[in-house]
């Protein structure tokens, strides 16, 4: 597993290429890159601030990664997550999974993202012109997470 909590910007294309080089031999790789949107609910967003709890945040990401590996039996999993100030247009999260079979790789990434949205120890703040608000998980985030409890 490759877990990183990053205080500085990272190159998502480089992260992806590195993962493919390291794990491409398994045959199937699925990945997700989350990028900070420049708008939220009609408001312009200049940057996010992701507050985090050193030690607990890393542990929460590792627990999600462990669960994804166990549940879907993927051969390799990477989660890179930004913390601190993340400008609009910058990647905030990179998740990738490698497996001999594509379904497991797709599902491991989807599952890890759904849990990261609600269970990783981050507190997200949207900041822009006339905007400064904490973001809480949406009903959609909760429903996304529920899917995995039903299947």
């Amino acid at each position: 597993m490759n877990i990183r909590l990053l205080e500085h910007p990272f190159d998502a294309a480089e992260a992806h290429a590195g993962f493919v080089n390291a794990h491409g031999a398994f045959g199937a790789i699925a990945s997700f890159i989350g990028v900070v949107r420049a708008t939220a609910a009609g408001d312009a967003v200049a940057h996010l601030y992701l507050d985090w709890y050193p030690g607990m945040t890393e542990a929460s990401i590792e627990a999600i990664a462990d669960a994804a590996v166990v549940r879907f039996g993927v051969a390799a999993l990477a989660i890179w997550h930004r913390c601190g100030r993340v400008e609009a247009g910058q990647p905030v999260v990179f998740v990738a999974a490698a497996s001999p079979h594509r379904r497991a790789a797709f599902e491991a990434v989807d599952y890890a993202m759904d849990r990261l949205k609600s269970e990783a120890a981050f507190w997200k703040r949207e900041v822009g012109p006339g905007l400064d608000r904490w973001v809480e998980p949406t009903k959609g985030d909760t429903e996304d997470l529920e899917r995995w409890n039903q299947s």
Binding site: H81, E119, F122, P137
Partner: protein, 82 residues
């Protein structure tokens, strides 16, 4: 000494990120510390007590727990990552 950290909206409500408190002679608990440090904000309706999440030594706890000298407590709002 008990270290108390605040994250997310809770840090805004108390205006601090970290405080250190002497441990109370009669002992402390998560709920007692929450009421002591965030009671004003709760009473003012700025936050509901059940919206205040807690951890003891970096382990999330929904229940009240005894807090001893040297422990690290945190109060925070619901997580929102990704």
């Amino acid at each position: 000494m008990i270290a108390v950290l605040f994250f997310g909206r809770m840090a805004d409500l108390v205006g601090q990120r970290r405080v250190e408190l002497p441990s109370a002679p009669q002992g402390d608990s998560l709920f007692a510390l929450r009421d002591r440090l965030l009671g004003t904000a709760i009473a003012a309706g700025q936050v509901e007590d059940r919206a205040v999440r807690m951890s003891l030594n970096r382990v999330v706890s929904r229940d009240d727990r005894a807090v001893a000298d040297g422990d690290e407590v945190a109060f925070f709002s619901v997580f929102s990552g990704g």
